[in-house]
Subunit: 324 residues, 2 copies
């Protein structure tokens, strides 16, 4: 059995071995660029943790789980074009460093590399592995579509929002865990329980992201606090505040949303105060706890010895209380 | 055995049955839009022809070959964004009718649908089917990258050009034929010969396209003659003219290429005259004949009774002499 740190190192070593660049260089350079800038490697780690519930020979599926990380980065590449994002993990996004065409085509190429690697599994698991990833990939597309549509809507409900982040974020996390379990030969009901577990964990992960944008510590979070507030991003916080705030605060919040000219610090401060008065911090923390509990229950349905689950529980604690 | 027309009808019937649109509608509407606008359905027809060399039950792989057509349309969707094309088959392109984000994301979704359908083959062929399409998809990306790079270069050689169109156009045609042969259980050497056959046929198809832009009949070609000339597209015609024209004509041609202000009709006429004086018509026709011959030789290596190949030969004649 491997610790999370050991699994992360296995992934890092394997990633360092990858040769992304062949001719035409300009197609592959951006893939190298986006893959080398780190990130938490959360999805392949989770896939290996799931595999490790059942089997110890994780090196057998390293390439396949690295495919998942490449898939994740492909979605970021295209999302950044669509959102016209400037920065990704503190570095220029591909379409800013090169241009949109490069980001579109390199993204397409990255998706193919991802599929190729994910498919490096034993024949007996191939059909379900690709079916699983086709479903995941389509759900991620749907999530991104809803996310874009929500930008121009001001009546997004809590349920719609949860569905959107489930599709956009959770499904890939769930699919990564399911993939690890699948290729380890997990029995059917555990394979499904682990998918549910990952789905709830993904919701925790994203709600935590929303939370940290407002209540995170700037030094630990690694990005500016209040970015979502400034861009009026429809996060869980904002949706719940629009629902639960007092009539006065609701009016004030809407005023801040439509205001074109403002001092950024002032807006962040004012909106955060509305959140504080409305008790949004407690609302989101309760929601996170709720999904955390559901993910725990799903993990309990997996009939492997408890000592096999220890690093999964550690990972849950990390995701549930992460600061960055 | 089925005639080309019968196979085309099978494909049409199956395509009509497809339900592309589910929630979120805005993600899937563009896929429906691009799929309903016809086209020759050349790739699925070729795949069925290859299957039909060996087996008669073409209905068994209809869904899989429709996946190929969807794949083809996904590449067109993204290419049109990258080339900022206005029209496709006489209708507005997706990114013009909607916007670039829609075209990128719907393209991504179309690719997933395509993969899902292509993979609807028997388990024994699954691994090779997906390996084959991953290779094809990556080659198409490479071809598109070269095509974009050639736009800003004025020293593209004939060999580079042929390699580019091979990757961008031929490989998918070859891959479609190979796919049909694979799932029909064709023996290894025939499977390879059919891939080569398709590769040469694809070159014929693209060179024919270049030729028709200059020497096509406007009524039959279905699009405006001279479009490539006006946009200085580096076609086989232009590359060979820059190589073979007299020093005076070469200078004149370069002048036309850099000129910013001109009467379109005048430019088309002048460049066509240079092509005529240089004998480019004969050069490209000889090249087409050469690849036609090579594709014939590849088809000869396929050891099925000659009467099984009759519609393939008919298809070759059609592609070799097509007017649109």
């Amino acid at each position: 059995m491997y610790t999370i740190e050991e699994l992360r190192n296995c992934i890092k070593t394997e990633l360092d071995k990858q040769e992304y660049v062949e001719a035409p260089v300009s197609l592959f350079e951006p893939i190298k660029y986006i893959m080398e800038d780190g990130g938490k490697r959360l999805r392949p780690v989770l896939a290996l943790l799931a595999y490790n519930l059942y089997r110890d020979d994780v090196e057998k599926i390293l390439k396949s789980v690295i495919g998942i990380e490449i898939f994740h980065n492909y979605t970021l590449l295209h999302d950044d074009v669509m959102d016209d994002a400037e920065l990704r993990r503190g570095r220029q996004t591909v379409h800013k460093k090169w241009n949109s065409n490069v980001a579109i085509l390199s993204g397409d190429a990255a998706a193919i590399i991802a599929y190729k690697m994910i498919e490096m599994v034993e024949d007996e698991y191939l059909r379900r592995a690709i079916d699983g990833f086709n479903q995941v990939a389509m759900d991620v597309c749907k999530g991104q579509q809803y996310d874009m549509e929500f930008e121009t809507r001001d009546d997004v409900t809590e349920q719609e929002y949860i569905n959107m982040i489930y599709l956009k974020t959770s499904v890939l996390i769930a699919g990564s865990i399911r993939h690890g379990a699948l290729v380890a030969g997990a029995p059917e009901h555990e394979y499904k329980a682990l998918y549910d577990f990952g789905g709830y964990l993904g919701l925790v992960f994203q709600l935590q992201d929303d939370y940290l944008d407002v209540y995170g510590d700037v030094a630990e979070f690694g990005k500016k606090i209040g970015g979502d507030i400034l861009s009026n991003k429809k996060t869980y916080m904002l949706i719940k505040a629009l629902e639960l705030a007092s009539p006065e605060d609701k009016a004030l919040l809407k005023e801040w949303i439509v205001r074109k000219e403002f001092d950024p610090e002032e807006k962040i401060k004012a909106v955060t105060e509305i959140y504080n008065r409305t008790g949004i911090k407690e609302v989101v923390m309760a929601k996170i706890d709720n999904y955390m509990q559901k993910s725990r229950e799903a993990l309990d349905k997996v009939d492997v010895p408890e000592d096999r689950k220890v690093y999964f529980r550690e990972m849950m604690d990390y995701i549930g209380s992460r600061k960055n």
